[in-house]
């Protein structure tokens, strides 16, 4: 009734293959995009950007990246934090070594460097699967953090061992450093999120995505129809790490500004992103956004309700926040193990028939 595909006929295969085959969906997404690009930048302030929009956008990229590896290709990874660190440090080294180059390219190149590192740590995936692979990627996580802590070259021999982002501009507006206006970093991240989502969607709906999913669903059958398993797995590691690297670079340069590797990119970051895609929905781009939104927004929302509206002490609220978020995760996963994306799919199927049950 509210959501229907009746009358929405396709006459070419190209039409049928498009990103949002259902007209209603398409216009809804266009609306969200226009709103995000044309309205939000004019109304946001520093608090909204730093507490909500930047983390949401940056984690969305990381979640899209990890979802390609775990959700689409079925290779479990616990190395996300480490790969984000690679992106961050690559971006830092590039920013300080080539200050005249546009930061946009630094971020993309940082993604490229991370892709290379991802492929390297993806090599064991040909031999080991499942939990064992997860443990192998865990090694990547600890090794990379150790590396960035121990080798002074990576933090340019600074006394604190931290890296901090120099001020950089894009089209004359500052996007990093302390003097940014709220909308500039927001738009910068939004552009990258949009591009990432589009690229991820294109890859996953085409032959590359089918190869990944084939490996995920049944690797023997994939091989028998001509999928080279090593190539498919390594491309998944590369593309996934590329996005994760971009998000790490943004996390460092645009969001935090200064980073201590063990604190910002520790194992808890790997788990956070993994939870995002599990809660959001494995094997779904929308799920990556939903999961990122859930884990970024829920704590903020709870804090505002508990401290702001109910007037509870901050420390009590902070602890309760953990409890409530944890409980919500469990409830969500019991109600819908396939995540928010599946809930959304079910809701759409119901809306299609509403008000009739069948």
């Amino acid at each position: 009734m509210f959501y229907r595909e009746a009358g929405d006929f396709k006459t070419t295969y190209a039409d049928d293959n498009q990103t949002f085959p259902i007209k209603f969906d398409r216009y809804r997404y266009y609306f969200v995009l226009v709103f995000a690009f044309a309205v939000v930048p004019f109304v946001i302030n520093d608090y909204w950007v730093n507490a909500i929009f930047l983390p949401f956008l940056i984690y969305s990229i990381a979640a899209i990246g990890l979802n390609i590896l775990v959700g689409y290709c079925g290779q479990v990874s616990l190395g996300t934090g480490g790969f984000m660190a690679v992106g961050a440090y690559a971006c830092y080294k590039l920013m300080t070594a080539f200050p005249e180059v546009n930061i946009f390219f630094h971020v993309l190149l940082a993604g490229g460097v991370t892709a290379g590192v991802g492929v390297l740590f993806g090599l064991p995936s040909l031999r080991i699967k499942g939990f064992y692979l997860a443990v192998a990627t865990l090694a990547a996580q600890f090794f990379l953090v150790w590396l960035f802590n121990r080798v002074p070259w990576f933090y340019n021999y600074s006394a604190s061992g931290q890296i901090s982002a120099p001020e950089r501009t894009l089209f004359g507006f500052e996007v990093t450093g302390p003097n940014t206006s709220a909308w500039a970093p927001y738009l910068f991240c939004l552009v990258l999120v949009t591009l990432s989502a589009l690229v991820a969607r294109n890859l996953t709906r085409g032959m590359q995505g089918r190869q990944w999913m084939a490996i995920r669903d049944m690797d023997i059958a994939a091989e028998i129809i001509g999928v080279n398993p090593l190539r498919a797995k390594l491309t998944a590691f590369a593309v996934s790490s590329f996005f994760v690297g971009i998000s790490g670079a943004l996390f460092f340069s645009v969001y935090l500004g200064a980073v201590e590797v063990g604190e910002a990119f520790g194992i808890q970051k790997s788990f956070l992103v993994l939870f995002m895609i599990i809660i959001g929905g494995l094997g779904s781009i929308f799920g990556s956004f939903a999961g990122a939104a859930f884990l970024v927004l829920m704590p903020v929302l709870l804090k505002n309700v508990l401290v702001g509206m109910l007037g509870w002490p901050t420390d009590l609220a902070a602890h309760l926040e953990f409890l409530i978020v944890g409980a919500l995760i469990i409830i969500f996963l019991i109600a819908e193990p396939h995540g928010l994306a599946q809930l959304w799919r079910v809701a759409k199927e119901k809306l299609r028939l509403w008000p009739f049950p069948h």
Binding site: T12, Y13, A14, D16, N17, V199, N202, L203, G206, M207, Q208, R210, Q211, M213, A214, R216, D217, M218, I220, A221, A222, E223, I224, I225, G226, V227, N228, P229, T235, V239, G283
Partner: protein, 271 residues
């Protein structure tokens, strides 16, 4: 008739020269000999059956052809050339497609995506083109979709093309698996028990599809099947295996009257 001359069957199909030849294949797993010194050939355009009691080594034979097992002895000749040891995906890229005894579909994907995956060999666009969905990638996607839709029409699975495979009943899954193998436009199609676990109607449907595939696309088919009636009706020539050895080879009529085959299936009195 010599092995290399083409001839025309009673029902008007042309059987060409040998396309694949197995020469003295021996396959061992440790001390167990799964296949002992077996030779046979598959000719272009024919339906070749491999039969035998349980544990005779039929599936092992198919796995040798499709590259899962590398035989310890013997040679595989394909299209007039000796085939070096290959990985399964390389075999697939040479144009040999197969189905499995217990369905091996991608459960998380739609029927359409499953069948499209069969077009691996025909889709060569690079990752960058795919990421941007421009140029070759977009063109290939549409062209191959057309080819896939023809196969979907052919196997009469239009109504379920967007359904996730996990939701389908057994018989349809078997058909989707056949569609996926056909989508590769294989020169040899290997079917491992295409009719296992089906009722009479489903078997009839499947038999019709196999005959149609062979007839319309001229696809060479090698199949393993336990239903003797089906095998004798469908196939042009039959290889019979027992305990890893070849005990018979010939037309269905020849095989049916072969004493060794009758003994293997019915048992012999030991007195």
């Amino acid at each position: 008739m010599s092995a290399q001359e083409s001839y025309v069957t009673e029902d008007g199909r042309t059987i060409g020269p040998t396309v694949m030849e197995m020469k003295n294949i021996t396959l061992r797993f440790g001390g167990v000999k799964a296949i002992t010194d077996i030779s046979f050939d598959i000719r272009e355009g024919e339906i070749r059956a491999i039969i035998g009691p349980n544990g005779a080594g039929k599936s092992s034979m198919l796995n040798v052809i499709s590259g899962f097992y590398i035989p310890q002895d013997g040679e595989v000749w394909y299209k007039g050339e000796k085939r070096p040891p290959m990985k399964p995906y390389e075999v697939a890229q040479q144009g040999i497609a197969r189905t499995f005894q217990n369905i091996a579909l991608f459960e998380g994907m739609s029927v359409l995506d499953n069948v499209m995956t069969g077009r691996m060999r025909q889709m060569q666009s690079g990752m960058l083109a795919q990421a941007l969905w421009r140029g070759k990638a977009e063109k290939e996607e549409v062209e191959n979709r057309e080819a896939v839709e023809k196969i979907i029409d052919f196997l009469e699975i239009q109504a379920i093309r967007k359904t996730p495979v996990a939701r389908l009943p057994y018989g349809l899954k078997k058909r989707v698996e056949l569609a996926r193998a056909l989508a590769a436009e294989p020169s040899i199609l290997l079917l491992d028990e295409p009719m296992a676990g089906m009722n009479v109607e489903e078997k009839e449907d499947m038999s019709r599809f196999i005959l149609d595939v062979n007839d319309e696309f001229g696809t060479t088919i090698a199949l393993i099947e336990h239903d003797m009636g089906v095998v004798m009706d469908l196939s042009d020539r039959v290889v019979v295996m027992d305990y890893g050895k070849k005990i018979g080879d010939g037309t269905p009529d020849e095989v049916r009257s072969n004493q060794a085959v009758i003994d293997a299936y019915l048992g012999v009195a030991h007195d």
